[in-house]
């Protein structure tokens, strides 16, 4: 066998961001080791040595092999980590709980930087590149969704630094483990959308899921957290088992692991044959696995409890990052349903039904919630329903009315682009909302809606930002949420699903009530507002303002982002 070092480096480059996240996990543990035993001389010797050895190794690779790879971001990142840890130790000894969070933020930022570089290369190129023997597919679609997952990690790591239950004394010990799980979950999610191989899909989905179960239960001493973790684990294992069974049927009949090849098999398969039936079962079971991750009704039962019981940064990650990559893999999966497949119209109606039930259920259930996180849990279910609208339209465009066969339609990318735009907007507004929940809960010590009464006046900037997020989640201009809904609804109408768009419109009105209730409570002035000592968190507030600014920016200038989404949709290879 020919071991070509250059080809290894090339392949490693394609998964560079994920590798950085894996490296971040190791650095987190190393830093933790150092911080535990920093009174011992050995840690003072060991930590700089390890850091410099790693830096030197990075420098050595291009120097000795003569292969030109720029590793300056990694180099810079390691130096930054070293500086953070040393300075924190010298300057803030004993009060440096934020160090693991800072390390994770640096790692996530580096991964984002690498993804940005990859995006610049990939966008405009059109063709997808493969590496690792076809396991990893690098295209604009994948890079965009990996970027969303990575950005979620960046923001949620930042939130973790300020999340009170993780700063308090006994809980503070778990921050490193928590961040490691968060980073690994993000890496799993990023691998998930970077591949179209069933085996690798399953592996990365498990990496994502296992780390999610663990994170949810990491508020030790909180019964809701443990209960949520157990429920999530049990539901998740069953869903994963069903999905794996579906995969095994697909693999068993087609003999292929790559999604496009399974798609080819589906198209050459004789109709109404026993294989056809079993392949349908396989596809449906696989989709039920994704639907579980996406909290589509009736696979949503875990969501409210988990969202309420989990640490808030985890809730934010699950509702945004995990959802984005799960939608990503579902869209990739739909890729194989193109062409002449007899049962696809049935799937259309199933998906349309799921969309209606999901959004209606989510909104109606959210109406009478008293806990902020639980409310956003239900609202997140509703938003999954809206996004599914864009997916439904894709099916429809493939049906040829003359022959009843499926064909490629004019609007192919439309629904997909709408979903991708929605996911991006949802990242800004939902992360912002959860950040605001963390900020307010740090003041009140509770996550009940009643307890944020009048707090908007006390911290007008965060209160204002929260209002922007709520407007955007409702879908009121000039916010990104408005255009997200606009594109999805328009795709549905263009696709002949006018009734779906109408139902979604009614749902938007329903959602106005509960989002408005939060806003009203925030700026209520009836003299009864509790007086809370205000812990200052200017750095958390700064991120919230940044997210609010982004929400407004894409609400006024959606064009460029929309173009990016459209190009990513095209790169799926229709």
């Amino acid at each position: 066998m020919d071991y070509d070092f250059a080809s290894y480096l090339r392949d490693l480059r394609t998964i560079g961001p994920e590798l950085i996240l894996c490296g971040t996990i190791l650095v987190l543990f190393l830093v933790d080791l150092w911080r535990i035993g920093r009174n011992r001389t050995i840690s003072w010797v060991l930590a700089p040595l390890v850091t410099f050895a790693a830096c030197y190794g990075l420098y050595l690779v291009p120097a000795t092999t003569g292969i030109d790879v720029d590793l300056w971001p990694e180099f810079l990142g390691l130096t930054a980590v070293y500086a953070v840890v040393t300075v924190a130790d010298l300057r803030w000894r004993g009060r440096d709980r934020w160090v693991p969070g800072a390390v994770a933020v640096i790692g996530a930022a580096l991964a984002c930087l690498r993804l940005w570089q990859q995006g610049v290369e990939v966008f405009g190129e059109g063709a997808a590149a493969f590496s690792w023997g076809g396991l990893v597919r690098v295209d604009a679609f994948g890079v965009l969704l990996r970027g969303l997952a990575c950005l979620t990690l960046l923001v949620t790591s930042w939130f973790t630094i300020f999340y009170a239950p993780m700063r308090r004394d006994p809980g503070a010990k778990g921050v490193t483990e928590f961040l490691a799980c968060l980073a690994a979950a993000a890496a799993g999610g990023m691998f998930l959308v970077a591949t179209e191989n069933l085996l690798f899909i399953y592996l990365s989905l498990e990496l994502l899921s296992l780390c999610s179960y663990l994170q949810v239960g990491m508020l030790k001493g909180d019964r809701r957290s443990s209960e949520a973790s157990l429920k999530y684990l049990i539901y998740g294992s069953v869903a994963s088992g069903f999905m794996l069974f579906g995969f095994s049927l697909l693999y068993g009949f087609s003999g292929e692991l790559a999604i496009p090849k399974i798609g080819q098999f589906l198209q050459t398969m004789p109709r109404h044959s026993p294989e056809g039936v079993l392949m349908t079962v396989g596809v449906l079971l696989s989709f039920s696995g994704f639907a579980y991750k996406l909290t589509l009704v009736p696979f949503h039962f875990w969501a409210p409890d988990v969202y309420e019981g989990a640490p808030t940064p985890t809730t934010a990650f699950l509702s945004v990052g995990s959802k984005a990559v799960s939608f990503g893999i579902m869209l990739r999966f739909l890729h194989m349903l193109t062409g002449d497949i007899v049962w696809a119209p049935g799937l259309v109606h199933l998906a349309a039904l799921a969309a209606v039930v999901t959004m209606t259920y989510g909104n109606l259930a959210a109406l009478h919630q008293s806990n902020l996180k639980r409310l956003f849990g239900y609202s997140s279910i509703a938003h999954a329903g809206y996004m599914l609208l864009g997916v439904v339209t894709v099916f429809q465009f493939m049906e040829d009315p003359a022959t009843g066969l499926l064909r490629e339609g004019r609007f192919f990318g439309e629904g997909y682009a709408a979903v991708l735009f929605y996911l991006g907007a949802y990242l800004l507004m939902n992360l912002g909302a959860f950040g605001a929940v963390i900020f307010l809960a740090n003041r009140t010590g509770s996550e009940e809606i009643e307890d944020i009464r009048g707090l908007g006046w006390k911290s007008p900037w965060v209160g204002g930002a929260f209002i922007v997020f709520l407007l955007s989640l409702t879908g009121i201009p000039p916010t990104a949420g408005f255009f997200a809904k606009w594109y999805v609804f328009r795709a549905a109408i263009d696709g002949g699903f006018l009734w779906l768009a109408v139902v979604a419109g009614i749902n938007t009105v329903i959602s106005l009530f509960y989002y408005f209730r939060i806003g009203r409570m925030l700026f209520l002035r009836d003299g009864s507002e509790a007086f809370f000592e205000a812990p200052r968190a200017p750095w958390l507030a700064a991120v919230l303002l940044l997210l609010a600014f982004g929400t407004l920016w894409f609400g006024v200038f959606p064009g460029a982002a929309r173009e990016v989404a459209a190009e990513a949709a095209r790169s799926l290879g229709w």
Partner: protein
């Protein structure tokens, strides 16, 4: 009914029955043995599917490793008072010595062979399959990446599980 279907039904019954015993038994030891039965049934499926390597791995890792580890764990936890009777210990001792004798005889009877298969000259298939699996795991164009990612998964799962299972205030203080 062909022999294959019969074997499948027997194995499936054993697997499911083992699982049911694991869940419903009130005694941890019985649960462990139920689990062993279930895992052995799965190993049988692998044999039935012609995947000998997987079957052997299943037996070595799960039946031989994991379940025995459970049993050791149960053994080392403090027992009930009533279990400490002389009669019980004597019976267990006789079984233990008998098992030891059988094992020792088997070990010394091997004379350098491993289950009668000489690794250099044995049946080509066994060695070839293992070699193929190993190569696929280490080949960049095959499954090197999933193999490495699995190690990340195991690392994080291990650390997280230890954290969850650890008693409050265990570390550092």
């Amino acid at each position: 009914m062909s022999a294959e279907i019969l074997a499948f039904l027997v194995l499936a019954t054993a697997t499911v029955a083992g699982g049911v015993v694991t869940l419903w038994s009130r005694y941890v030891v019985h649960s462990a043995f139920g689990l062993m039965l279930s895992l052995l049934g799965v190993a049988g499926f692998y044999v039935l599917l012609g995947s000998d390597f997987l079957a052997v791995t299943q037996v070595v890792v799960y039946v031989g490793g994991v379940v025995v580890l459970y049993l050791f764990g149960v053994m080392l936890t403090p027992p009930d008072r009533e279990e400490r009777s002389i009669r019980r210990i004597a019976v267990a001792g006789i079984f233990a010595v008998a098992a030891l004798v059988v094992l020792l005889k088997a070990v010394f009877g091997m004379e350098g062979r491993w289950y009668g298969v000489d690794p250099d000259r044995g049946p080509a298939s066994g060695g070839a399959v293992i070699r193929e699996v190993g190569n696929a795991f280490m080949d960049k164009e095959a499954y090197l990446l999933p193999f490495e990612i699995a190690s990340v998964l195991l690392l994080v799962a291990l650390v997280g599980a230890v954290f969850i299972a650890r008693r409050e205030g265990g570390r550092g203080s």
